[in-house]
């Protein structure tokens, strides 16, 4: 029954006796039931009959009326095979329409808004403005009365949540309660509109349309930086940038004359789409997808049309031909972008955003680097090197063989090279050969298990040395590189791998010694080594467990912990590589310590000597560069050597600087536009007719004064004559306050969208909006100042039955706040919220392993969740790092989208998983603890006062006497329970990283439990 009533509200069946209303009653039926075969799509049109156009439809109106009323299966329309059936009421309407002579109007949203006179109403005292009169007249038609105004605390909480996304503080509520002036409410509205939180709240909704995220999406889903664009967005709302300008900047800010950095950054709206670089993917395919995504997002956001339907064929319901789609496509197809991109963060084109100092510094460094590079080139390095190569080898010697117990060259095998025949054995998978520093290296993976016998005469209790090259693989957890252990012994590995900069990773070398008695000593390199590059290690054991380490020939400081007494580590075991993920090269075991010079020789000279010696090797680029580097560092003469040293230093400094300078992806036109074609069936490789840019023909034409490009398109969208842009925007804002727009399908104003519940009001607001100069704050104020907005949200049984969705607006809508606000609210009421605005995204608490169990691997960024600490744990939900293939878990549970596509409205579900998250997510438990601490701290010793304060912080109102009884009883029960088990209290209250600010943890645990119950109340999660 409910559903039937709702559809009656929408189609206006309550108003019987009047002539049929074509737009509300007839066109939706034609669209839904007939357009599929008799609509805009030429390819599926039957009987050459179009019912979406006036002439052809009215010419056949008698037949239409007859055929829908037919009972014979072969004659009846829609035919039996169609999915749609007409009910008796719908058939009746069609026949009535025909008998009345067939009134016809164009689809409402394609015709410019008209200003209707504000209607006369009976309840004259109620309206606070014209807006309310449009609402009231509809209610009076239905014999309904508006609801009374909500009480002040409810009103202020509603207003604060709507305009800032945060609840009011008790002080703010008190101030409002005590303000008895006539303008008290308006004062609050103005205060909140002026708050910088306003920009955050508006941006929050816009981010869904913009499909904002911190990763690229698709397959590998590594990180990107679009937060500078997000910062711009928040600022634009806060500065109340007019919506027309706001539109132009976001669609084509880069094309404005002498575009500023801000305008270019703003154009990132249409770079927020997903970007792919899956190995083997075809670039043209994805470049086409990006453009299609831009057309769809722009269509949804500004036109409120599902233009994407015309990607593969003419639209079935709206007059958007496939050709129209690709004409729009042509506007967005000229970006200097690659089909596959994003390995290293932002995909081109992007805009660097240095500070002035950084910009100057960068320029100077670039010049300094170029100048030095030129000087080196001018010195005819290639010629000099050719000369040098002729004699160099004769001046080099092979590494010493004295004391060399074993040598594994690792040329695709584990053979011992000194002739002992102590070859390595494969108990798992053999290594794969790949280029290494000295010839080939051995690439080991998960299945590897290799044993090398103990070298002859080897004794760990005496001095020895282990030298090898190592490069880490795709494992981020601590790794054991090798062990030589049998109870006592030695184990070499690295600790957890961490990011240095965007794509580089580092780890510390860890050496663990164990003696026969089980005593352990751990050495750890003080500096990390680069994990994805080869590093040479020389590990000298001086005897008795004393170790010294050289990395790339340089002495490395070690941190030591554990056993301090001399250690015996003799074990007689083989050297084992098990599940070693990474590459090894040139493994040498000496029965003595290596000198510093020898270590340097292995790390620096030996790779060069190898290349010079093996003249038959065709040198790779990397090998050639290595030789050149060696030459310039060591043998090029003092002048070039110092020049080269300075150059390298400059390059390192510049790299550091570059990493500090943020960038943001932007639009940038190709100098020569790409050719655009119709893509048959939407396939990138099925090119059809060539098309030029143009706007859809059913909308007002683009004035000839506008340029035929993206900028022109943006300007056309915000021209005063445009029937859609203002309506779509106003409708979406309305939905933000009331849960539904006048047009419930906020993303679809086309034929298949729902007709507006209050068409005159929608038009009036749209026209006011345009006439105000697209003033966004003024529009919000107009809405929230209305009597309609200020109504109570209480649902009477009559309204619940007659208008469950509140389409008639006889009350305020009551609905759960969106995901980010659920979080923000809990943080705010507990006092944990870090109010910082903008900047890089942060990584709050999240159950471990969520990314890792689906992610690709260590060679890309954003594959492992690195949780933030300190105040970054308490930022607003909108700043949570948004990984598209696994969006923030506790936001996703509350319907936050994955941001792979433009989303104009979220669902609002109510699930048990939400209860679990609010009970047990660290964020909410910690918020409960802090709310408890805050109540104890602020409300004094009286439990009743504390309970009241706590309840009011969370709900904005004081609890009733009955509510107080329940709260008090629950508190007493919890207190008794935790008194009986103080250990449980201690455990409970240690949740979260923030400091405990209460001395009595038993008391705190009891209060925390009550606080958790309060934070779980429907009222706390809901905007009333």
């Amino acid at each position: 029954m409910r559903f039937l009533l709702m559809s009656m509200v929408a189609t206006g069946l309550f108003a019987a006796g009047k002539p049929v209303d074509f737009l509300r009653e007839i066109r939706p039926i034609l669209s839904d039931a007939c357009f599929q075969c008799h609509g805009p799509d030429e390819s599926t049109r039957m009987a050459n009959l179009r019912l979406d156009q006036k002439e052809s439809a009215l010419a056949k109106i008698t037949q239409i009326a007859a055929r829908v009323g037919e009972t014979k299966p072969g004659r009846k329309m829609p035919p039996a095979h169609a999915k749609v059936r007409l009910n008796a009421a719908q058939v009746g309407l069609i026949q009535k329409w025909a008998s009345e002579g067939g009134a016809w109007q164009e689809h409402w949203s394609f015709v410019a808004p008209k200003r209707a006179e504000p209607p006369a109403v009976r309840l004259k005292a109620w309206p606070k403005g014209n807006l309310d009169r449009f609402v009231l007249v509809r209610l009076e038609q239905e014999n309904l009365k508006p609801s009374p105004e909500a009480d002040k605390p409810t009103l202020l909480r509603r207003l604060s949540l709507d305009l800032t996304g945060l609840p009011p503080t008790p002080q703010e509520i008190d101030a409002f309660l005590n303000d008895k002036t006539a303008g008290a409410y308006e004062k609050q509205v103005d205060r909140l509109l002026a708050s910088p939180r306003f920009g955050e709240k508006m941006a929050l909704h816009w981010l869904d349309l913009a499909r904002y995220a911190d990763t690229h999406g698709y397959h590998i889903d590594s990180h990107r930086d679009m937060w500078p664009w997000r910062d711009w967005l928040i600022g634009a709302f806060n500065r109340n940038m007019p919506y027309d300008q706001f539109t132009i900047w976001q669609l084509a800010g880069d094309m404005l004359p002498n575009a500023t950095r801000e305008q270019i950054a703003a154009s990132g709206f249409n770079r927020n789409h997903v970007i792919n670089y899956e190995g083997g993917a075809i670039p043209e395919e994805y470049q086409a997808e990006y453009v299609i995504d831009r057309v769809e997002a722009t269509g949804t956001t500004w036109l409120g049309l599902t233009v994407g339907c015309a990607r593969c064929h003419d639209h079935k319901y709206d007059p958007i031909a496939q050709k129209d789609f690709y004409r729009l496509f042509a506007f967005f197809n000229n970006i200097e972008e690659k089909g596959l991109d994003g390995q290293k963060g932002n995909a081109a084109p992007f805009l660097k955003l240095p500070t002035d100092t950084q910009a100057t510094l960068e320029k100077e460094m670039t010049q300094a680097i170029a100048a030095r590079e030129k000087r080196i080139e001018d010195a005819k390095i290639a010629d000099r090197m050719a000369e040098w190569e002729k004699t160099k080898l004769s001046k080099m010697s092979a590494p010493a063989r004295n004391g060399l117990a074993a040598h594994y060259e690792l040329e695709g095998n584990f053979n011992e090279a000194t002739g002992t025949y102590l070859h390595g054995r494969y108990l798992g998978l053999p290594p794969t050969a790949s280029d290494g520093p000295v010839g080939q290296s051995a690439l080991l993976d998960t299945g590897a298990r290799i044993e090398i016998p103990e070298p002859n005469g080897f004794n760990e209790d005496a001095a020895f040395s282990l030298a090898f090259w190592f490069r880490g693989g795709n494992k981020l957890e601590p790794l054991t590189i090798l062990t030589k252990k049998n109870g006592a012994g030695i184990e070499i590995g690295n600790d957890e791998v961490f990011s240095i900069g965007d794509l580089r990773r580092g780890a510390h070398l860890v050496i663990t010694l164990t003696d026969a008695a089980g005593g352990k000593r751990v050495y750890q390199s003080k500096r990390p080594f680069p994990y994805n590059e080869f590093t040479h290690f020389t590990l000298n054991h001086q005897g008795a467990g004393a170790i010294e380490l050289r990395m790339n020939g340089e002495a490395e400081e070690l941190a030591v912990s554990g056993e301090t007494k001399p250690m015996g580590i003799r074990n007689g075991a083989p050297i084992v590589f098990a599940q070693m993920i990474g590459s090894l090269d040139d493994l040498r075991i000496y029965n003595r310590e290596l000198s510093a010079a020898e270590a340097r020789q292995l790390a620096i000279e030996e790779p060069v000597r190898y290349l010079l010696f093996h003249t038959g090797i065709k040198r790779s680029k990397a090998q050639a560069a290595m030789l050149r580097d060696y030459y310039l560092k060591h043998d090029s003469g003092d002048e070039l050597k110092s020049l080269y040293a300075r150059l390298n230093q400059l390059k390192a400094e510049k790299k550091q600087l570059d990493e500090q300078i943020p960038s943001t992806m932007v639009m940038k036109e190709l100098e020569k536009p790409r050719e655009s074609n119709i893509l048959k069936r939407g396939q990138y490789d099925q090119k059809g007719e060539r098309v030029e840019v143009a706007t859809p023909s059913f909308l007002p034409p683009m004035p000839s004064s506008l340029p035929r490009n993206r900028l022109g398109l943006a300007q056309w969208l915000v021209s005063k004559e445009h029937p859609l842009t203002a309506r779509v925007a106003v409708n979406r804002f309305w939905a933000m306050y009331f849960g539904n727009g006048f047009v419930k399908t906020v993303e679809d104003f086309g034929s298949q969208g729902e007709a507006p519940s209050h068409p005159e009001l929608l038009d009036a607001l749209a026209m006011d909006f345009i006439e105000s100069g697209w003033d966004l704050k003024k529009l919000q104020k107009q809405i929230v100042m209305s009597a309609t907005y200020r109504q109570s949200a209480r649902v009477t049984p009559e309204l619940k039955e007659r208008d469950p969705e509140n389409r008639l607006l006889a009350r305020m809508s009551r609905f759960r706040i969106q995901a980010e606000l659920v979080r923000d609210n809990a943080l705010a009421v507990s006092g944990l919220l870090n109010g910082e605005i903008g900047g890089r995204s942060v990584s709050p608490y999240q159950p471990p392993g969520l990314w890792e169990e689906v992610a690709y691997g260590a060679q890309f960024s954003a594959q492992r969740y690195e949780q933030s600490h300190g105040k970054d744990l308490y930022r607003r939900g909108m700043y949570s790092f948004w990984k598209r293939t696994l969006p923030p878990a506790s936001l996703a549970i509350f319907d936050a989208p994955d941001r792979e596509k433009c989303v104009a409205r979220r669902a609002t579900t109510n699930t048990p998983l939400q209860a679990l998250a609010l009970w047990n997510d660290t964020t909410y438990l910690e918020a409960a603890r802090k709310l408890a601490e805050r109540s104890i701290r602020e409300a004094g010793a009286d439990p009743a006062k504390r309970l009241k304060h706590m309840f009011r912080l969370a709900t904005a109102r004081y609890p009733s006497a009955t509510e107080m009884k329940l709260l008090q009883a629950s508190l007493d029960g919890q207190m008794a329970e935790y008194k009986a088990s103080p250990e449980a209290a201690r455990k409970l209250t240690t949740t979260g990283e923030s400091k405990i600010e209460a001395s009595d943890t038993v008391e705190l645990a009891a209060w925390m439990s009550v606080a958790s119950a309060i934070l779980n109340l429907d009222e706390v999660l809901t905007k009333e």
Binding site: F3, L4, H219, D221, G279, G280, A281, T306, C309, Y317, D318, L429, D445, T446, G739, K744, T745, D748, R794, V795, T796, P797, R814, F815, E853, V854, Y856, G857, R884, L886, S890, A892, D898, K901, A907, T909, N910, T911, P912, L913, Q914, A915, L916, A917, W919, S960, S970, S981, A984, L988, T989, S1009, V1010, A1013, I1014, L1017, D1018, E1019, T1022, E1024
Partner: protein
């Protein structure tokens, strides 16, 4: 016409959707005819298993070993960026032997011996084909019916269409097997089990290995069950008072969702607790079955889930993307999945559950006959191949011991009975009593379906 089904649809998801967000014409009318299967267990083999080395024998290829793939076979079809740069596309015949298995005489390779035991239970389709040649679009296609992100997954469609039979467990459960060793396989994405434009109450709920199998299921240390109950009671009583004041039915829904959460805190651990499973059962699923997070254990859990009326269980096993070292790696994959997959079918059968459960096994595409990288006598790699691959189905609604489709001598093109990904999806829904053309959801003005505007039943597969 809406009334009879609206309430059911409204409450049939795992949780409920607020009225305000529901479109009034989005009401599932499924089932459309009597169902053969009540539940689905979908074993997705992520990466693209090689049909040439598992199910599609081509002994004659030994003759062509190392020769370039003939142009008459390739017919100019696009290939991925990983092999399009190779100067030759040399044929690599399988290193593994095949033989006829079961009464059905179903040819399978000798690296999947446990599959031999279920030859008479399954319907093997050797002629599945897809449109995508890279992982992301291909896996998105087979799991959501569309190559680009944004559509609901199969499990979500089924949950939306049929609801759940167990009120204390989600209707759509997802498990991703974790290897004992480090994982460098192709990634997965939450979009594969997302509800797309359907309300998010229909999205898959991930069950994970470890102490917190469902996100946030466990109460914190220091909170007793009794304490949890009391906190819940306090919330519920206060919520009820608010419901009486505000008259909003959504509050009552919230109260019941909180009760369900509380019940889940016992029903999920009960489900995950394998201590009452017999040794024989563990033996059947193989040694890995005792390791949490293994594919074997997840197959066992899948059986426990359908026993409890869970509608759709989606498993993912990664590691089939064998561009190089295929002979070595496919044996490792087979070791981890062969026995558990077959055991699942056998176990369901011995418990009388197979007739009500549809089991689906397969990847997102197949692999090429030509070698990627260096071809030797003992080693080869294979690139992605969308034009033919093998899948199998078993159980409710499926004709056992059936073989469908044939490929050419190179397992490159289909020569008989092609089965498109949409046909698989249509057939899957059919077994559940759902007409794939009638299970629709109106979004952005269009009635969307899992199979878009395509899909034909694979009639030969149906019992």
């Amino acid at each position: 016409m809406y009334d009879s089904t609206s309430r059911r649809q409204f409450l049939s998801g795992f949780g409920a959707t607020a009225f305000a967000a529901m479109a009034n014409d989005n009401v599932s009318t499924a089932p459309h005819f009597p169902a053969k299967a009540k539940s689905v267990i979908y074993l997705h083999m992520s990466g693209g298993p090689s049909q040439l080395d598992l199910f599609d024998p081509k002994p004659q290829l030994k003759k062509y070993q190392g020769q370039d793939l003939p142009g008459s076979i390739r017919m100019g079809q696009r290939i991925t960026g990983m092999t399009s740069g190779q100067s030759t596309l040399p044929v690599a015949s399988s290193l593994f032997d095949f033989a006829k298995r079961g009464q059905a005489g179903m040819e399978m390779s000798n690296i999947i011996p446990w599959h031999h035991k279920i030859a008479d239970e399954i319907c093997l389709i050797r002629s599945v084909h897809t449109e995508a040649i890279n992982h992301d679009p291909a896996i998105t296609f087979i799991q959501t019916g569309f190559q680009q992100p944004g559509r609901p997954s199969i499990g979500s469609w089924v949950s939306y269409g049929l609801g759940s039979e167990n009120k204390n467990l989600p209707g759509f459960v997802v498990m991703i097997s974790q290897k004992a060793s480090v994982n460098t396989d192709q990634p997965l994405f939450s979009r594969l089990w997302s509800s797309g434009f359907l309300p998010s109450s229909y999205q898959g709920v991930k069950f994970r290995a470890g102490s917190d199998p469902v996100l946030y299921l466990n109460d914190p240390d220091g909170m007793s069950k009794d304490s949890r109950r009391k906190i819940l009671d306090l919330s519920s009583k206060l919520n009820q008072m608010r419901a009486d004041t505000m008259g909003d039915p959504e509050i009552e829904t919230r109260i019941s969702q909180y009760e369900m959460a509380f019940k889940m805190q016992s029903s999920v651990p009960e489900l995950m607790d394998l201590s009452k499973e017999s040794d024989a059962t563990f033996e059947l699923y193989g040694p890995d079955a005792r390791r949490p997070g293994s594919f074997a254990q997840q197959c066992l859990l899948a059986r426990r889930l359908v026993e409890r009326g869970v509608r759709f269980v989606q498993l993912y096993n990664r590691g089939w993307d064998q561009h190089n070292d295929l002979p070595r790696d496919i044996q490792l994959q087979a070791q981890a999945t062969d026995q558990p997959s077959a055991a699942l079918v056998l176990d369901l059968k011995q418990r009388g559950l197979l007739k009500d459960t549809l089991v689906v096994w397969g990847g997102e595409f197949g692999r090429t006959v030509y070698c990627q990288g260096r071809l030797t006598d003992t080693n080869y790699g294979r690139d992605h191949h969308p034009r033919c691959f093998s899948m199998w189905m078993a159980g409710g609604g499926i004709k056992p011991g059936t073989q469908i489709g044939e490929t050419d001598d190179y397992s490159y093109n289909i020569v008989k009975d092609p089965v498109h990904v949409h046909d698989i999806q249509a057939t899957l829904l059919h077994c559940l009593g759902v007409d794939h053309t009638k299970l629709t959801y109106k979004f952005q003005g269009r009635h969307f379906r899992l199979t878009d505007v395509h899909g034909n039943l694979v009639k030969q597969a149906l019992a």
